[in-house]
Symmetry: C2
Subunit: 153 residues, 2 copies
Amino acid sequence: MLDVRTPAELTELFRARGLKVTPQRQAIFRVLHGEVTHPTAEWVYEAVSDSMPTISLRTVYQTLNDLAAMGEVQALDLGTGSARFDPNLDAHHHLVCEHCGRVVDVYADASAVRVPNPQRHGFTITTTEVVFRGICPECKDRNDQGKRKEGNG
Amino acid sequence: MLDVRTPAELTELFRARGLKVTPQRQAIFRVLHGEVTHPTAEWVYEAVSDSMPTISLRTVYQTLNDLAAMGEVQALDLGTGSARFDPNLDAHHHLVCEHCGRVVDVYADASAVRVPNPQRHGFTITTTEVVFRGICPECKDRNDQGKRKEGNG
DNA sequence: GACCCAACCAACAACGGTTGCAGATCAGCA
DNA sequence: TGCTGATCTGCAACCGTTGTTGGTTGGGTC
């Protein structure tokens, strides 16, 4: 899997772009590295706050946006209320839990899905995103238990 | 195409559900009927305001949400900033202009796109949405003209 | 190693889309 | 027609995100 670069690599990239490498940014790099979930800015903020309680949410947004602009993470809007930042740079799709908003990567071949020419309306199509929606096993269990309780009581 | 119901049919549906049929709601029904774009609440509000200047945006949201809950329109989040309400109830997908946010319906067969079992993570998948992103011909033209101007001076 | 200044930071306010609230109003029924 | 609770309106709040501001800091240069 084509993962987000290491903190050291990102440090180099930032320097190469003339962006300064601050302790805050490095802390964010560290949090992102090896992350396989699809964290929100808020989540990253809280994770970084563990080691750096004074960091501001604003700084997290700024750095994540910088990374997205550099193509080092992918910004996603999956309709879960807030933007998510995906450190997985492979071409892939997403499976979203409609209850808890959990997101997992899916490697499915969507090349077969084409827009028939007459329906293209002259658009130049650049990307094809597939979003699978459903219920994750945890939420399903919780739901089933709830129903069972309802039935019993 | 399976269109949104007529104002008369929606009136009946609302009554059958014990919901009152107010002039505001009827005006919204009329605006939605035959609409093939994917209007935002704001757009509906402005369209209804033509015939009923005193209607509030709040009421438009409420009625659109009611319709969505009844399955008479489909609420969409296509990452264009605001929710869109689709009166087309067929199974279909969307083509979104990344410049102007314009949305058009696409009838493409996505049944071939399946999540391989090992990647399903125990999810129960209910829907598969495909979003094609690109540039609509109008934005492309405008863009090209801009570039030509740049080039000329 | 000190200097300097753009880049950065934290805090706060603003923003756009959407929803909660409270009081005024009205649709539907007797 | 009169009742009654659903609905309407206007406003304020909410949430995620971004602009602003004034003080702080990284790192190239001497």
